[in-house]
Every structure is written in structure tokens, then in C-alpha cells.
């Protein structure tokens, strides 16, 4: 998985849960929570969507790594590259 694939996966997951946003317009380094109105249940839905799109399951302890789109993309690339460690 390269960076643009990882960023795209996160954008698609967010767009699924919050259809009113423009995924391409999201700033990569600003916390997602400041750009999109997501409550805790929405976050679980985003994680489920990420898993569906990428096959990567994000455990609860790693959720903080997805604070920004860029951070989330790095995390997903590391997980994908490491063979899902």
C-alpha cells in the first residue's frame, strides 16, 4: 500500500460515514475531529469501513494514531507493510 492509496482509503471511509463532507477537501495534518463532526459511534463506523476497504483491523489502543489523515495513512502503510503485525 502506498501513501496515496492509504490516504484514499481513509477519505473513503470518512465519506461513507459522513456523506456531507468533501473527502478531497480534508486537510491532511489537521485533526480529523476538527474538520468532521464525528461522535464515538461514527468513529467505530469509520474503523469498520477502513477494515472493509483495506483489510486492516485497527485495535482500540491504536485509534489515537488516526488523529489526522496523514497520521492514519502512515499507520496503515506500516501495518500493511509489516504484514498485519
Amino acid at each position: 500500500m502506498n501513501e496515496s492509496e492509504a490516504i484514499d482509503a481513509i477519505r473513503r471511509a470518512l465519506a461513507e460515514v459522513a456523506p456531507e463532507i468533501d473527502p478531497a477537501g480534508l486537510a491532511l495534518d489537521v485533526p480529523i475531529a476538527r474538520q468532521v463532526d464525528l461522535d464515538s459511534m461514527d468513529m467505530l463506523a469509520v474503523l469498520a469501513a477502513i477494515e472493509e476497504i483495506t483489510g486492516i483491523e485497527v485495535p482500540e489502543r491504536d485509534v489515537a494514531r488516526l488523529e489526522t489523515v496523514a497520521g492514519g495513512a502512515s499507520y496503515l502503510m506500516a501495518r500493511a507493510g509489516g504484514g498485519g503485525a
Binding site: D39, S40, M41, L44, E51, E57, P59
Partner: protein, 388 residues
């Protein structure tokens, strides 16, 4: 002869527009089965049968309105108290649905909404189609999924959709506003608050969620709903309604959960019998409720059966929310964002994750000490989350 009647889905509801029948003559209906989709100013609600039997006749056409309490369908071999004098003598023999009488106009009518089935609305959103521009081919000009799909491919028939449609979130906002204004006019509110150490609850959630996939993880709101459902049994006068000048406490504990709608506005459908559900079941019910509420698919019993409501702000918000009681309920509990705060532990300062719980109560039914008791009992339960 059994009866299916238009239910009251809100304190101010006078009539409902029957958007779509989900049953047909000859179907067997059990109590609780969803029978039709009714449009109210809170959006589209699925109404349920309160009796069982085999469907006889459907008495209201899709696209027509019926007043609250009006007979909308008959059941054969139903289980009903015999109110034979209320039925038209030849009801069983009516094969063709007759239109219901027009509801009395109580307030200046709102601009007409586009009549469309929920499936059509979801399709319109998904396909980026403006419902107001779609010509409906269903009963009364109602828009169905096929109409939306046709519009999306550009194969629309010429012709306008009639009067301009109103944004559904505008209608919802107005309905919520009217209910809240009425609440403030009629209910003498008092307010109490309590800060709670959510350390044990947070640790419990982290441990529980560590090995679960997202679809089975718990959120803090589920703990709050369950704690409220159990705590209110200690202060039963806060669980129920005030109607016709009297408090009417309820046997069932149906906790309404405030859900923010994506286009704006708040609805508060209820999870039934929270005191009898375990935590996993509460979480499942909560997830299902929130998803359906946001998709405009709540059920009549959820909208009208709440006995007390929880308004939880969730994460990333402010310390406290002081709610407005949803009539005819008599209390509403608020929960602010859980945040680290200075806290006293054994006489010394420490840092703990803390949430502020509030309660607004109807002073005709309870007072500050009783309201405070509910919050203290909730706090006790939240300090021992494994018992929830």
C-alpha cells in the same frame, strides 16, 4: 374484528401522512410488526401493530393523511377488546380502500414536503438527485426508488414536481423547537449537577474493547444509558410521564437517547426495557437506534414510549449540558465530555477523567433532593462498571 389505528407519535401530533404500506390484505400481523411508514414533522416513522391478526382492508391510501386515532386498517380474527359500536357496520365487506377524512388544520400549514418513500430518499442522497425535481409516479405523486433512478440517469419526464419542497431538516428543527418551547412554557424545570470520576468506567471500556472488532466495541454512552436505566428504579417517580394534571410513573424503563441528526436537529428515540438488557445488548440497541434515526427510519414505539431521556454530548465537547425535558416525560439527564480534571483522592490532589452529569426535573413531580438521588445512584453504578 381487530383494528389498526394511526398512533400518536409526538405530544403535538394531530395527523400523519401515510407514505407507504408495508402490509397487504391477507398478511398475518403480530403485535410489534412494522405495518406502515408515516410521515411526521420528525421525519418518517415506521409504525407498529398493537394487535395481531390477518389484515382485512387497508382504509387509507398511500399519500393520504389520517388523524391520530383514526382506523387505518382492519384485522380479521384479531385479539381486541370488542368495541363493535366504533366500527362501521360493513367494514369487513369493504374491498376498496376509502380515503380518510382530511385532518383539521390547526396551525398555518407548512410548505409541502416531497412525498417520497424512505428508500427513495436514500437513493436520492446516494445518487445526488434533488428530490424536488423528480416526478413521482406512485400514489398521490409519491416518489419511489424507480423514479429517483430514472432521474439520475437523466431520463426524467418533462413536468415539475409541483410546489417547492421543504428541506426535511428544516421541518425537524421546527418540530423540535415547538416541543421545546412547549416544554419550557408548561414544565417548571429545576436543575441539579454532579461530577463523576469516570476512571473506573474508562478503564473498563478500554479493557473490554481491547480485543473486540469495531462492530462490537462499547462506547461510553452505552454505560450511561445502562446506569441511568438501573438508577432510575431507585427514584421511580422520575421514570414516566405527567399527563392530564397527574404524574404517571411507568413500570417499564425506556431510556430515550438524544441523537444529533447530520443535517441539524435532535431526535430522542427510546431503547426499551433498559433495566432488563445487559451491556452488550444495550450497545447493540444503541448502534441500531442511531443508525436508523439518522437514516430516517425510527419506529413509532421508539418515538412515543420514552420514560426518561439521556442527552450525552460525547467526546470533544463541553463540560455540561442542561437539557430541556421532552414532554410528557418528567426528567432529562445530561452528560458532558469526559475530560481530565483535578480531583481529590484521599485528601490529595490527583488528575482523573471526570464527567459532569446533570438532571433537569419537573418540579410538579420531584424536587432537587430526589433528582440528586438519581445522579448519585448513577455515579455509584459508574464507579462499579463491571456490575452494569
Amino acid at each position: 374484528m381487530g383494528e389498526l389505528r394511526m398512533p400518536s407519535l409526538g405530544a403535538d401530533m394531530e395527523s400523519g401522512l401515510l407514505v407507504e404500506w408495508l402490509i397487504a390484505p391477507g398478511d398475518h400481523v403480530a403485535r410489534g410488526d412494522v405495518i406502515a411508514v408515516v410521515e411526521t414533522d420528525k421525519g418518517e416513522i415506521e409504525i407498529e401493530a398493537f394487535e395481531e391478526g390477518e389484515v382485512g382492508s387497508l382504509l387509507v391510501r398511500e399519500g393520504d393523511s389520517a388523524p391520530v386515532g383514526a382506523l387505518i386498517a382492519t384485522l380479521v380474527g384479531g385479539t381486541t377488546p370488542a368495541d363493535a359500536d366504533e366500527l362501521p357496520a360493513d367494514a369487513a365487506a369493504v374491498p376498496v380502500p376509502t380515503p380518510a377524512p382530511e385532518p383539521p388544520a390547526a396551525a398555518p400549514p407548512a410548505p409541502p414536503r416531497v412525498r417520497a418513500s424512505p428508500a427513495a430518499r436514500m437513493a436520492a442522497e446516494r445518487l445526488g438527485v434533488d428530490l424536488a425535481a423528480v416526478t413521482g409516479t406512485g400514489p398521490g405523486g409519491a416518489v419511489g426508488v424507480a423514479d429517483v433512478e430514472r432521474a439520475a440517469t437523466g431520463a426524467t419526464t418533462a413536468g415539475d414536481a409541483g410546489a417547492p419542497s421543504e428541506d426535511p431538516s428544516e421541518a425537524l428543527r421546527r418540530a423540535v423547537g415547538a416541543a421545546m418551547a412547549r416544554s419550557k412554557r408548561e414544565i417548571p424545570h429545576y436543575y441539579v449537577a454532579l461530577d463523576v470520576d469516570m476512571g473506573p468506567a474508562s478503564a473498563f471500556l478500554d479493557a473490554r474493547n481491547a480485543d473486540l472488532p469495531p462492530s462490537r466495541r462499547l462506547v461510553a454512552t452505552a454505560l450511561l444509558v445502562r446506569a441511568l436505566g438501573l438508577a432510575v428504579r431507585d427514584v421511580p417517580e422520575l421514570n414516566g410521564h405527567f399527563r392530564d394534571g397527574r404524574p404517571r410513573p411507568s413500570e417499564d424503563v425506556n431510556v430515550g437517547v438524544a441523537v444529533a441528526m447530520r443535517g441539524g436537529g435532535v431526535v430522542a428515540p427510546a431503547i426499551h426495557e433498559v433495566d432488563r438488557l445487559d451491556l452488550a445488548a444495550v450497545m447493540e440497541a444503541l448502534r441500531d437506534l442511531v443508525t436508523r434515526a439518522r437514516a430516517g427510519r425510527m419506529r413509532g414505539s421508539e418515538v412515543s414510549d420514552g420514560t426518561i431521556t439521556l442527552s450525552a454530548l460525547g467526546s470533544g465537547s463541553v463540560d455540561a449540558v442542561h437539557g430541556v425535558i421532552y414532554p410528557p416525560q418528567v426528567a432529562i439527564v445530561g452528560a458532558g465530555t469526559i475530560a481530565d480534571r483535578p480531583w481529590v483522592v484521599d485528601g490529595s490532589l490527583a488528575v482523573r477523567p471526570v464527567a459532569t452529569l446533570t438532571l433537569a426535573g419537573d418540579h410538579r413531580v420531584s424536587d432537587g433532593r430526589r433528582g440528586g438521588r438519581l445522579l448519585m445512584r448513577m455515579a455509584d453504578l459508574l464507579m462499579r462498571p463491571e456490575e452494569l
